[in-house]
């Protein structure tokens, strides 16, 4: 019984190391392939559109909803201490430092990462990735690189959009509903913030973009077993990338805020 336990534990550790190694190798190959030729501008443009432009509505709506509900909570909380004026400052801090990059990352992992996993997974089980290989085309260069570049560029841009929308979400509640002065809100929102905070938010978004694209592509590329495999790939991609976004967020915050 003890041996069986150690057997199972050992197999689990080996499997985990195998998976980590596989991801690391594919990620390394993707970064190495970024500067390889031929450069496929059309393919890259399509990914910019899929990752960035098409994600705008969902990012705007979620950022608006989250910043509004956060403002409601802050207004309610600070009212208990007759400190309503602090609500806009904390709203600014929360939106810029955490809500905008994390919400954008999580939404994009659901919208874009899962789509990447499903698309590459379908290509894998229908032998389209083998067909690419046979046409002397490196699937890492053709499929992974444009998606990675698009996610690394678009996530920071979408995060900036999210911060802007977050400002107006807070404005709607704190000025529109709670009756604070628009002029005061405009000043207070940025009071606790420095330019460094925007930079940190964009760094975070950049890393989240990397995680989303690499995990999505990796899960799709390693799909096995027909329809069931294709069904599992996006789910697994969203769970894994969301988890890593939250873990990376903790470490990035700890590192960059020092």
């Amino acid at each position: 019984m003890v041996l069986t336990f150690f057997d199972k534990a050992g197999a689990g550790v080996l499997r985990a190391m195998d998976t980590t190694g596989d991801f690391a190798v594919l990620a390394g190959r993707t970064f190495a392939a970024i500067f390889k030729r031929p450069f496929d501008g059309k393919n890259l443009f399509r990914q910019f559109q899929a990752v960035g432009v098409n994600s705008l509505p969902v990012v705007i709506l979620t950022s608006l909803a989250v910043s509004m509900v956060f403002a409601v909570q802050l207004a309610f909380g600070f009212k208990q201490f007759q400190a309503e004026g602090l609500a806009s400052q904390v709203e600014g801090l929360a939106v810029m430092r955490e809500l905008a990059p994390v919400i954008t990352g999580l939404m994009l992992s659901g919208r874009v990462g899962s789509a990447m996993a499903a698309e590459l997974g379908t290509m894998q089980v229908t032998e389209q990735i083998d067909a690419l290989e046979c046409l002397a085309t490196d699937p890492i260069h053709y499929l992974f690189v444009p998606r990675l570049l698009a996610a690394m560029v678009m996530l920071p841009i979408l995060t900036a959009v999210s911060v802007y929308v977050g400002y107006w979400g807070g404005y709607l509640i704190l000025v529109g509903v709670e009756g604070q002065s628009a002029y005061v809100f405009g000043n207070e929102f940025y009071k606790l913030l420095a330019f460094r905070d925007l930079r940190i938010a964009l760094y975070k978004a950049f890393v989240f973009g990397m995680i989303i694209a690499l995990v999505g592509c990796w899960k799709g590329y390693r799909t096995q077993g027909g329809a069931e495999g294709v069904g599992n790939a996006p789910t697994s991609s969203v769970v894994t990338s969301s988890l890593w976004i939250l873990i990376a967020d903790f470490f990035l915050t700890k590192l960059l805020l020092v």
Binding site: Q128, A131, C134
Partner: protein
């Protein structure tokens, strides 16, 4: 030196040995047909030739270059001289027929858009699929997809064409059409071909030599006339298409009359 040399090739997936010491060689311009039951390693053989799988032992050499020892860049160079036609065509479903056939040309040849257009039309013409440029793969029937797959494979003017079960799942008429297309390609392009098929009729038309894989081993490899006369019981059973004999590992269900008795 043969154009394709398969030397002592063995491949297993876990405990299941799929290919065991297979030796084959294909001369330039020759057409080899590989027959065998389902799961006897025919597709694995082609995937080893393309470098999509790495052999456990032995090797595959194309023009003397051992595939498993090449770097990625060298492998891609060799692959440009091989056209692979997949069992289910494996067309890129997000692209049109034109974009599928033009894919290799755009990536590997410095051609103008006009030259690409002309080459794609030429390739589609060779497989009898002219005028389908703007269609998506989902709008094509099974036989049409395979022929577009052939057109994509020949676009880069390869020296070698590999066909993986090109007629499986097609009706007898379309099977004959595909057989003729393969024969036309062979004669018009002068390419070396390896075709994997279950269809004996087209196999005997296409082949210069026929090989039979049985339980991972190549038990016969000879011209069609000699193959027909081969006394090996497995060859004869395969040619007869009879369930009784040494071909199946598990005994087949009894015939209906015997079952009643």
């Amino acid at each position: 030196m043969a154009l394709i040399d398969v030397v002592n090739l063995s491949k297993a997936f876990g405990p299941k040995v799929v290919l065991s010491d297979v030796n084959l060689s294909v001369e330039e311009g020759e057409s080899l047909v590989v027959l065998g039951g389902s799961g006897t390693g025919k597709t694995v053989l082609l995937r080893n030739i393309m470098g999509l799988l790495t052999p456990d032992s032995g090797h595959v050499a194309i023009e003397g270059k051992i595939i498993s020892q090449l770097s990625r860049e060298e492998l891609f160079q060799v692959r440009q001289s091989i056209g692979m036609c997949f069992q289910m065509a494996a067309l890129f479903d997000s692209m049109t027929v034109f974009e599928n056939v033009a894919f290799g040309l755009r990536r590997h040849q410095k051609m103008t858009e006009g030259q690409i257009q002309a080459r794609v039309e030429e390739c589609l013409g060779l497989v009898g699929m002219k005028g389908t440029d703007a269609l998506k793969p989902s709008e094509l029937s099974g036989g049409m997809k395979r022929r577009v797959g052939f057109a994509r494979a020949i676009a880069l003017k390869p020296k070698i064409l590999l066909f993986d079960e090109p007629t499986t799942g097609l009706d007898p008429v379309m099977t004959d059409v595909i057989g003729r297309v393969i024969l036309d390609l062979k004669h018009e392009l002068g390419v070396t071909t390896i075709t994997i098929t279950h269809d004996l009729k087209s196999a005997f038309i296409i082949a210069d030599r026929i090989a039979l894989l049985f339980r991972g081993e190549c038990i016969a490899c000879q011209p069609p006339a000699e193959f027909r006369e081969n006394p090996h019981p497995v060859v004869q059973q395969f040619l007869r298409g009879d369930a009784d004999g040494p071909f199946l590992q598990d005994p087949p269900p009894p015939k209906r009359k015997e079952a009643h008795a």
